[in-house]
Point group: C2
Chain length 212, copies 2
């Protein structure tokens, strides 16, 4: 049995048989082996979209196209192109009227998240979005710990800006645990990160009201 779902992903009996196994295991492990954080987020976003909860997409990878062939009777073929550095974060969209903007990063480190996972322009983009009253954060997956956190952009900025003034080059896990939100895998959606976003929105609105 091998067919395609409307989302273009191949459905195989492997993925079917994997489910009962997981249920027997303790602790419950929803995160599928071999799935990247990007895959997991795309699947979660697909769930949010199909259930009318949010419209959040990963942006396409920016490509500099140099040469394109137009063969007769068939689609244009790109024959020479190069990867360009993105000038924004990877994910954005809308949830309950809020503009959502984030990047997703994986690390194999177990005690801290290295800041060199970010580029200056991504930070600049997030600062601009935050200034325009967007909801900005980063989703960090500690692969070896199998733990995912949502860290608000402002917390990321603290470490980023300190690093530029000679501060440490990574964010300690303990800081992320205290200031971020642990996102526990579940079945639908796989990564229910919008629950953490709800908390973040409350925090922002609390800060906003406090200023008024």
């Amino acid at each position: 049995m091998n067919f395609h779902y409307p989302n273009g992903k191949r459905f195989t009996t492997d993925s079917l048989s994997a489910t009962p196994k997981k249920i027997r295991k303790a602790p419950t492990q929803f995160g599928k082996r071999g799935m990247t954080l990007e895959d997991e987020l795309n699947e979660s976003n697909q769930y949010y979209l199909s259930h009318g909860i949010a419209v959040i997409h990963k942006k396409p990878t920016p490509i500099q196209i140099v040469k394109v062939d137009y063969p007769k009777r068939s689609a244009a073929v790109i024959k020479e192109a190069y990867f360009r550095q993105a000038s924004t974060t990877d994910y954005n969209g809308v949830y309950q009227g809020y503009y959502i903007d984030f990047d997703a990063k994986e690390t194999k480190r177990k005690t801290a998240f290295p800041l060199n996972n970010f580029h200056e322009h991504q930070i600049r983009h997030m600062k601009a979005c935050l200034a325009a009253k967007g909801i900005c954060f980063t989703v960090i997956k500690f692969v070896e710990l199998d733990q995912i956190f949502l860290l608000p952009a402002t917390n990321l900025f603290s470490y980023w800006d300190a690093q530029k003034n000679g501060g440490r080059k990574s964010i300690p896990l303990s800081y992320i645990q205290e200031n971020g939100y642990l996102i526990k895998y579940q079945l639908n959606p796989l990564i229910p990160y919008l629950e953490a976003v709800d908390e973040l929105i409350k925090r922002y609105e609390g800060e906003h009201n406090a200023k008024e």
Copy 2:
């Protein structure tokens, strides 16, 4: 004189000498000859970004990469790739906390805008964004008339849905003039479409309050 601005665009004396000429002309023509609507919007978005007004970007074109070479000591080269159909609109971002989502279309027609400029999935995307309380619209340029309009998504949907039930295959210019917002070229930004968005936000909030 020929150097590059930080936005990567080449600056030439041609573009410099063009400015005084325009001022002498009547009526004033800010839209640069040969600039596509996409160029004009990108330039306007760059202005909004650099002035801290809004963060709105065009999404990269989605590409299906088939073959990549990794030559030693140089960047990866994409050797075979294909254009994919976008599943969303081209532009999105954040303005004063509002999620902004739109597509930009040009037509050479003078009396109506053909609906075949849109694909079903783009309409579906806009409907989903609107349901999630985003601000959705389309920017339509009548090239021959040198006129640009912002048409709210709901007005587009009226014609789109009617078309599917055998209605007309284009939106009359007169309808766009009545229900959309004419955006007049100016110097900075070239296409001040956020002024029309301000009106659209007022309209949405008026409707929202009326329902409560």
